[in-house]
Amino acid sequence: MENETRKSMIDQRLLRLLLSLLLIAFLVTTALAFKTKFSSGILDAKGTSPTASLEVAQTNYQARVIGYGRVSVRLKPGSYQLIYTENGASTTTAFTIYKGRTTTMSASLSGGQPTNTKPAVDKIFTLLPHYTNQYLLYAQPTSSGKPNIVFYFLAPIPVPANGSRPSQSQGNDLEPAAISAAKTWLTQNGINLDNYTFIITGS
């Protein structure tokens, strides 16, 4: 009888202990939930199309799709970009999340900066450098936005039949022809020279 009473007391103590642990877990979870709530902010994003995708991106972090059409998510405070994609076209808009506040964003294709996954590279940079035995052509970006096309004359002075070295003037005579040939080559490759600064140089 005494043993049974003792066993029952131990069982009850064990149950109380387990219940206490569960209550502690409950309190900790609740405290963490409130901590998360008060240390984060809400993004309420709406796109013009209900099927358009909405993505959130941040410097150093991978962009993540948060939903389509209209989405509300909680984020850590900081600066983000909202990427709105509709029928293959995307725009990016910057936004900031503040603690305990809701940031409302309306996204549309006309409302943000176009999103570039690949930069627009002037054709001249894919075409050049180009060289022949007379000249070298290369492209230079400039701060003004109008790139330079540099013509570098290699002065290949042909050796006359009699073996004597040609004069410097003979070499210079070849330059206009080489420039003309270079310009023709550029035009044939679809380059409009009006859009560039053509610089002539040489050894």
Binding site: T29, A33, A63, V73, P129, P141
Partner: protein
């Protein structure tokens, strides 16, 4: 004793329900966290020397990232957050889900470096003046 166990089970169920339901009710809408870009991780690994790791966001930021050829190549600009680093460029290639730095960090590259890059990536480096001509 049986009554005690029944009460315990009931109490435990209520507490467990509370543990599950409270965050759902308090944290509404759901919190989302973003994962570090694999390119950032590759750059952090490349920049770290003598086992001293550099932390993205604290030591540097990866900005102006351009992806090429269906994201298999990327060119990014490293912007230092403090004065321990210099602003520079990196070219990375996608390898097994992650990125491997192929060129850089550097501010200028040689034409011979371009041989291992696709034409569009090389053209982009030309266009931003990162190639010594």
């Amino acid at each position: 004793m049986r009554r005690s166990i029944a009460l315990f089970v009931l109490a435990a169920a209520l507490v467990a329900l509370g543990v599950w339901a409270i965050p759902q009710l308090v944290i509404r809408p759901n919190i989302i966290s973003l994962q570090l870009n694999p390119l950032t991780t590759a750059v952090a690994d490349k920049l770290s020397n003598n086992g001293k790791g550099l932390v993205p966001g604290k030591d540097f930021n990866l900005q102006t990232i351009y992806y090429f050829d269906d994201n298999s190549w990327a060119v990014a600009r490293i912007t230092p957050v403090n004065n321990n680093l210099q602003a520079s460029l990196v070219v990375a290639k996608k390898v097994a889900g992650g990125y491997q730095i192929v060129l850089g960090p550097g501010t200028l590259f040689r034409q011979s470096d371009l041989q291992k890059l696709p034409k569009d990536v090389a053209a982009y480096l030309y266009s931003i003046g990162a190639i010594i001509t």
